[in-house]
Amino acid sequence: MRKLYQVWMPIFLICLVATAANAQTFSVQCPATTPLHPKATTDPNPVGGSIKCQQISGGDGLATMADGSQTYLFSFGPLSGLNDIAAGLPGTQSQSVFMTPFDPNAGPGDPASNGAVGLVSDTDGVTIQVPDPNSVTGGTLTQSVCPPGTAIATDGSKRSCYTGHVDPRAIMDVGVMNGNIPAPMMAIDEDDEYFLTLTNVGMIMRPDLFEQHTVHFHGYPNASSFYDGVPDASVAINIGGSFTYYYLAPDAGTYFWHCHITPPEHLQMGMVGQLYVRPRQNRTALNSSLLANWTAQQTNPRTASNCAADILCSAPKPAVSTATRGNNKSLSPTLYAYNDGDGSTAYDVEYPLQIHGFDPNFHFVGMTFNPEGFADMKDKYFLLNGRSYPDTTNMAGYQDTTGNVGSGNSAFVGAPTSSTAMYTQDVDGVQRPSQPLNAVVNIPVGGRALLRISDLDVSEYQTLASLGIPMHVVGLNARLLRDTAGNNLAYDSNSITLAGGESLDVILDASDTIKYPAGQTYYLYTPNLDHLSNDAENFGGLMTEVHICNSVDPSSKVCK
């Protein structure tokens, strides 16, 4: 039996490859227009929002722990928005940027530095045949390859356009071993249509595994099970395949995402990421009433929050509000975490913080070919954004042995100099960015920082405490803390405790400039004192720094 297996398996695999080569299994989807957003993204659409897209790989990689050891990951990596992700930003892109082919040599600011990896143009010969939805006999319809408005060049009778066709070689060149912890960050606005393509590049360190991957958008209200990412309840994406998840952005809040294949294994191994939805209230005109913005949302049942008739009303009408939208500390219009209608969730700068834990024994077993135990899982690295202290505070960006940030990885030549990404040398000798996001919280003096805290630990609860600035908790599980009569239930605390699968929004309010002057440093740390460690080192763990700065760039988060 064993011999037969050894003989026939390679033959079977070769046949599989031969078949797969004929089918276009890698692809992306990011239409220029849709029925809901009929105008190009630069035009305002009546419904608000726009089309946003992102491409991620599902595979494996290595990360560097704060004690210097390398840890094997099952992981997601970026296949779009590479430049933004290297800068610690969400990888989500507008349609026009996403549909610009990625160029590893493009500099910051060039859409090609954030476009979709692998994108190739199609020449519109004449037409293709597609299934006719109204045919009961399996008939087809004739359709132009280039959808209206997508042509990028015309040469005589032929047009070329980007239809979502990708070159598998480019996908594999970038996607293999490019895992990140946390997984690529996603951020969308209410009313956006979001096209998220997951491409399964396989796990090169575990060729014995034929693992599928999925994306579970954790907390999506009224989710369809089809796009919920539970493999038992829907479809899972095989190695060599792409699947585009489609969402209309739900109510604003701090959500998160993860793979849902064998969750105790894939989550522990690192397939966890951050995801948040920004509120419509951010589109309120300067000096206009926030309550008026809230009221305008009540005319549409989709955006309304009617606590008199709906027990799951998400943003109750504020009991008191006279607030208008002003400028924040960086002199741009203030942003809000929720459609609060009263400005109670206003902030100057936001920081996604994801709590996680790694059990090095499980990761070692996960890298080898041994059966895994689940019940006695014991985390020994306690992570904020995939890093433990002191790596959580690293501002400079890790450099390779020749001192070049990001060199050795062609995909990241264009990485911005402000990148704080940590790099890890993979088994092929290439340095790849493994932990793009630090966990430093820079607050402009007198300002308010929104901490979007999510937890995906798979084995225990973790507590995060603030030494100094009180934690003003404004949201829980992606919902505004407010009773159905409209009274705010936000509270002040010096610590928050979360299980895996929970999220919470905290505002660190440093508006008292006497107490919190520029130049001061405070700490976020865990009072689970055994979590202030990095495996055998009795130092580190779940801890990071809060800096009061003269000013903070709200995009790069750089402290000045």
Partner: protein, 527 residues
């Protein structure tokens, strides 16, 4: 087994039971949950030792409360309901606010266990007989104690042993007491509750609710309800107790020398069962000591009351896929605002949070309302809008945007705004076209056992969407086939993900599949 394929072997091994169970589910009638229990107001309970079944084939020696003779009644009444002399969780006691309750407990545990008792946290309890104990009066080996109490507020609460709790609760001595409101607010028999009931009746469904409201509060109406008790088990403790159970003993504190620390549980249970056993029916004959299941089903728009209790000694973050839960109450205490309710100004508004993960802490009970409607997807989950679609192009909708005017319609409670809105650009099959996405070649995907066969809800849409050549189910969709239930499945599970395993085998543990079923599918919670 070669080292290089050992993990695959385990994966197949772990897949096989679930496939077998799924197959069984598809061949037999599916199982649904409700919140079944026994009625009083006089309850004769007994504490006994017996074995409980786990899906890895283990029979685990445990202690549990059970019925000392036939109970006064079962509620809701189901064919084949029983209350044996030992069960885990203990019998769910269903009582009514303001009605005096008497619970008599007989201790039939082995003499080596010593005394036992019941605590009813949050209740004002008087005791009669028994032996004095630290927290309450206890029943000595072979003896009896009586507790009398009157619940002054409705809601769900835990009860559990007040004697050597670290050992006795671990061994299984816990249960739930549900207090029904003395009066149901009139609006809970109002417009939408009435049309939901009409839709159930039209489709031939029976009402399995214990009441029409969880509390004497107009925002606590519900259409369906489920009770979930979370507990964990370290089998090493159970093995040691079993080995010493035969000791001769006359001490009230028992004669067992069993360390309850360090604690390494590897069974994680919902209502005393691990997945997939929890999705077998209530009172299934194969689980004589574990009568209650965890197998929630609902139709779109039905307000579903979740009664959630943390038993045992660990916290469990219970994640409800599909939507948020509005927390009504904790331990039978409504969480209320100081301000009037926007819908019913004569009472105070709800102030409980909206949660997608309801963390259970030991001894904590909470009540919450969940529903699923498919609101805001921007595509018609019923697949309307195709050529020849008999439904009107626009629907008449209620204040929340749902089609609730015709409870006999198969699309009752459809989210109106997306009626006829296409998902697929060029669908294969008869659903609306012109939407934003193209679904990939199905050959690069793996179908789940509970995948209904299409993105859509219901046998009609699924049959139309899976192609012009009929209703052949895509491979793998065996527990929720397009020709059968065709529901939408959502996993409800502990997000301490290591707890969705059974003795280190995935899948298992604290996990279940919640199904949102199409209106035409009959949810019969007695099966």
């Amino acid at each position: 087994m070669t080292p290089t394929n050992s993990k695959r072997t385990i994966t197949m091994k772990r897949l096989l039971p679930i496939l077998m169970i799924a197959l069984t589910l598809s061949l037999s009638v599916s199982a649904y949950a409700a919140a079944p229990g026994i009625t009083g107001p006089t309850f004769n309970l007994v504490a006994n030792a017996n074995y409980i079944s786990q899906p890895d084939g283990q029979m685990i020696y445990s202690w549990g409360y059970g019925c000392n003779g036939a109970p006064a009644g079962f509620k809701p009444s189901m064919p084949g309901d029983f209350c044996n002399g030992m069960q885990i969780p203990g019998p769910t006691l269903i009582v009514t606010e303001g009605v005096p309750v008497t619970v008599t407990l007989t201790n039939n545990l082995p003499a080596a266990a010593g005394n036992t008792s019941i605590l009813f946290p949050g209740m004002n309890v008087a005791t009669t007989g028994g032996s004095p104990g630290l927290l309450t009066a206890e029943a000595a080996h072979g003896a009896t104690v009586t507790y009398t109490l009157t619940a002054t507020t409705p809601g769900t609460r835990a009860y559990y042993s007040g004697t050597q709790g670290d050992l006795q609760v671990e061994m299984g001595l816990f249960g739930a007491i549900i207090v029904l409101p003395a009066t149901v607010p009139p609006n809970c028999n109002g417009a939408i509750p009435t049309s939901n009931a009409a839709a159930q009746a039209f489709n031939g469904e029976t009402d399995f609710r214990l009441a029409h409201a969880a509390y004497d509060h107009p925002d606590s109406c519900y259409d369906r309800e489920y009770l979930f008790q979370f507990s964990e088990m370290d089998p090493r403790i159970h093995t040691q107790v079993e080995a010493q159970a035969g000791k001769t003993c006359a001490a009230s504190t028992g004669c067992l020398e069993v360390a309850t620390e360090p604690y390494h549980p590897n069974y994680f249970m919902v209502n005393g069962r691990s997945m997939p056993d929890d999705m077998d029916s209530n009172y299934a004959t194969q689980y004589p000591q574990q009568p209650y299941n965890g197998d929630p089903h609902m139709h779109p728009g039905e307000l579903t009351l979740l009664r959630i209790i943390g038993q045992g000694r660990w916290q469990h973050p219970f994640h409800e896929h599909g939507n948020h839960v509005r927390i009504l109450a904790r331990d039978g205490n409504l969480v209320l605002s100081q301000s009037p309710d926007p819908g019913n100004p004569s009472v105070n508004a709800l102030a409980g949070p909206l949660l997608f993960t309801t963390t259970t802490t030991p001894g904590l009970a909470m009540d919450g309302i969940f529903y699923w409607t498919g609101k805001g997807l921007n595509w018609d989950i019923l697949g309307h809008g195709y050529a020849g679609d008999p439904t009107p192009a626009t629907l008449t909708c209620d204040i929340n945007g749902y089609f609730t005017s015709d409870p006999t319609a198969p699309n009752y409670f459809e989210w109106c705004q997306d009626h006829g809105v296409a998902l697929e650009s060029h669908p294969f099959g008869q659903v609306a076209a012109g939407g934003p996405v193209t679904l990939p070649n199905a050959n690069i995907l793996t179908n789940g056992a509970w995948y209904g066969g299409s993105a859509y809800l219901g046998p009609d849409a699924t049959s139309r969407a899976t192609g012009p050549n009929g209703t052949t189910p895509p491979s793998g969709t065996i527990a929720n086939s397009p020709s059968g239930e065709a529901g939408l499945a959502f996993m409800w599970h502990s997000h301490n993900e290591r707890e969705i395993t059974t003795n280190n085998i995935f899948p298992g543990g604290m996990m279940m599949m919640m199904l949102v079923d199409p209106r035409v599918f009959v949810i019969d919670e007695s099966k």
